[in-house]
């Protein structure tokens, strides 16, 4: 065990896998010598050579296109997109190529060995273009897996699992926790399961679902609600695609209430999928409408960031509204 922050846990996972599998190749803008603008790839070039860890030219569509080819060839690319806000030039390569490669070739070829890492999310005074949470854009794409860790321990285990999973994984890192979240992380190799939600706190009155940096926000709200005598079950979804509808249903059948929190704008956000599925699976169990506490339907603002964010207070209020419905 060692104390690591989220960046160190990621760096540690990358080193672990690069040592284990010499076909792992790490690249992206500034990830080489410099180790990435957040330093998640520090020392990799030094340790594994310039062939296996290098800067790419400044082109996200190129990075993912290149990574797709490399994956289809049999290597294990780990491509970094510097900010999730800049992943959109690669949208075609991800949605039309990465995701559909196996299917369209009848399983002859695939990008299963590809992992795309990208920092996402707000709360860092980043404004429109350093704050977005684009998971829902990708969640509508069969063939992709989407994984989001909430802390360093989860990050290492989930990233190792993602790199080994035989499907392309979009691994989204909550950047406001990069240095803020510190926890004990085993130095040895371990993986955590993809596609499985994680019950962070058990409870009986209402189920609260979140992922990434919002898990702790929801926990804060749960603590406030506990003071009022409300027992919250807090679940970290961890995998957005495919997601663990079973675990959420079980919880909602027990609690009768569901709240989902995410940073992205509400309309078309992933909370809508969860709500649509759970109202279907748990119709007779629901005692109140499923609540969504999300970002506003605006571009991500700067001066009004605090007002925009689905914080613990908004979550707490929504818990109360749902309890009192």
């Amino acid at each position: 065990m060692a104390k690591m922050n989220l960046l160190q846990a990621i760096n540690n996972a990358l080193i672990t896998e690069m040592e284990r599998n010499e076909k792992v190749v790490v690249f992206g803008e500034d990830v080489g010598h410099f180790g990435g603008v957040f330093r998640a790839t520090s020392n990799l070039q030094e340790k594994f050579g310039k062939d296996r860890c290098f800067n790419s030219p400044l082109t996200e569509q190129g990075i993912i296109g290149f990574a797709n080819g490399l994956a289809a060839q049999g290597s294990f690319p780990v491509a970094e997109i510097q900010f999730a806000d800049y992943i959109f030039p690669a949208f075609d390569q991800i949605v039309n190529e990465t995701a559909k490669w196996r299917y369209r070739s009848g399983g002859q070829f695939s990008c299963g060995s590809l992992t795309i890492r990208t920092p996402y999310g707000g709360g860092i005074h980043g404004g429109l273009y350093h704050s977005q949470s684009p998971e829902a854009y990708f969640a509508h794409t069969p063939g992709l897996k989407i994984v989001v860790p909430r802390n360093p321990y989860q990050a290492k285990g989930l990233l190792l699992a993602s790199m080994r999973d035989d499907n392309p994984v979009l691994f989204m890192e909550p950047k406001r926790l990069y240095r803020a979240a510190v926890s004990d992380v085993p130095e040895e190799d371990y993986t955590l399961p993809l596609g499985k939600a994680d019950v962070v706190e058990e409870g009986s009155d209402i189920t609260l679902v979140a992922w990434g940096a919002q898990v702790e926000v929801v926990q804060q709200a749960a603590a406030m609600a506990r003071e009022d005598g409300v027992s919250c079950e807090v679940i970290d979804l961890r995998s957005i695609l495919p997601w663990d509808a079973q675990r959420i249903s079980e919880s909602v059948m027990k609690t009768g209430r569901l709240l989902i929190n995410h940073e992205a704008p509400q309309t078309g956000g992933f909370a809508s999928e969860i709500a649509a599925t759970i109202q279907d699976k748990c119709f007779l169990y629901l005692e109140a409408p499923i609540a969504r506490v999300c970002g506003l339907d605006t571009p991500y603002p700067l001066a009004h960031e605090k007002e925009y964010m689905p914080d613990h207070l908004k979550t707490y209020e929504a818990i109360k509204r749902t309890m009192n419905y």
Binding site: F66, A72, P89, D92, G106, D165, P242
Partner: protein
């Protein structure tokens, strides 16, 4: 840290020096004249009789296949087809210059390269009839071939995407010490996509052994090359990327062969990309959905028909004394019969199992697709007449 100086190679001047188009002459390599005779001063590449006749036969086979499949589409037997008439030399001779373990990543008009590799008539048909013998499991439109055993990457429709992918593929080949290159085919239209820029630049910077093979056939559907770019074709872009570039007469199989052979050698030896621009002409309609009379004249087409790449190469092969008329006739007749027979066979083969609707989305079928499949099967059982392709198996 070594000091860097991005100006070190730049000279200077005190007069405003405007670099204009046309500053570089990029001539086109041509070995055979339009009658198939070696041009003065031209040296033919080393090409065995076997190779030469295989190239010729492949070209003739493909022209036949194209004709037959256009007819099959007109008869409503397949939904779509796309011919490469006029461009047979560019794709066949380039494929012939490669090794079998080189990867081919194509756009969609390179069926001749696939045929040269040994794709059989049956295989062509199974793909085009989307039947259960199609390795793509009937999921893609006709002509989206792919074959792992032949190192031919499955085609995908979005244009240009294969270009950076080819760079990545070649990088992997290099990294793993394979003595192989990747060839990446694309049209002059697709070269306008952002992915082209990304792919060529990355290959140059990251030293990828990839051959970028552009078929400049004058059109992207209805859009003529002059509305596609203003520079000197695609070759002139090589300069900007620092990529070694060869322009070649795409209707001259000999020239294409030697250009590709040399490109392959350079790519492997110097670990770098090479760009080939093959000047040719799309004599065919863009596809069976297209009618070129809306955008070009019959006269223009007629001029190009005179440059027929097959006849040109055939004359050369005849000149070499390698051509056996009888054998040839037999081959064509046999091929025609094979094609007709294969059409009849392939169209009778059933489509894949209903399970293949959800297989291969992931490595294994996840819970939600299991659920959707189960649900679907129950539904089909209820309305068997409405799902004739699959109702039999879910009874």
């Amino acid at each position: 840290m070594n000091d860097r100086n991005h100006l070190s190679k730049v000279s200077s001047t005190t007069s405003v020096n405007i670099i204009e188009d046309g500053i570089v002459d990029i001539p086109m390599l041509q070995l055979l004249n339009e009658d198939g005779e070696l041009l003065k001063g031209a040296v033919a590449p080393e090409l065995s009789q076997d190779q030469a006749t295989r190239i010729l036969k492949t070209m003739e086979y493909i022209r036949l296949l194209d004709e037959r499949m256009i007819a099959a589409q007109r008869q409503g037997r397949i939904s779509f087809y796309l011919a490469c008439t006029g461009e047979e030399a560019a794709t066949t001779a380039s494929a012939a210059a490669l090794f079998e373990h080189d990867m081919i990543m194509s756009q969609y008009r390179e069926q001749a390269a696939l045929a040269y590799r040994g794709y059989t008539t049956e295989q062509f048909m199974n793909q085009m009839f989307s039947n259960r013998l199609d390795p793509n499991k009937g999921r893609q439109m006709p002509i989206h071939y792919g074959d792992k055993a032949l190192n031919f990457m499955t085609i995908s429709s979005p244009l240009g995407t294969q270009i950076p992918q080819a760079s990545g593929y070649a990088y992997g080949q290099k990294l793993q010490g394979n003595d192989a290159v990747t060839i990446c085919y694309f049209g002059e239209g697709a070269a306008s996509e952002g992915d082209f820029h990304a792919g060529l630049n990355m290959a140059a910077v990251l030293n990828c052994p990839v051959i970028f093979f552009c078929r400049n056939n004058g059109y992207a559907i209805s859009t003529p090359a002059e509305e596609q770019f203003a520079g000197d074709g695609i070759a002139s872009r090589g300069i900007g990327y620092g990529i070694k570039t060869i322009r070649v007469d795409g209707n001259d199989a000999l020239a294409v062969f030697i250009a590709t052979q040399q490109a392959r050698e350079i790519a492997l030896k110097d670990k770098c990309p090479v760009l080939i621009e093959a000047m040719t002409y799309r004599l065919a309609a863009h596809s069976t959905s297209d009618d070129p009379t809306g955008y070009r004249s019959k006269e223009e087409e007629a001029k190009w028909r005179l440059k027929d790449p097959i006849n040109r190469f055939k004359q050369w092969v005849i000149g070499k004394g390698w051509f056996d008329e009888a054998e040839h006739e037999a081959y064509i007749t046999k091929s025609r019969e094979d094609i007709l027979a294969a059409v009849k066979t392939a169209e009778k083969v059933a489509v894949c199992d209903i399970d293949d609707l959800v297989n291969d989305v992931y490595d294994t079928v996840p819970w939600h697709l299991e659920e959707q499949l189960t649900h679907l099967k129950t539904h089909i059982k209820k309305y068997p007449d409405n799902y004739p392709k699959t109702s039999a198996e879910v009874k």
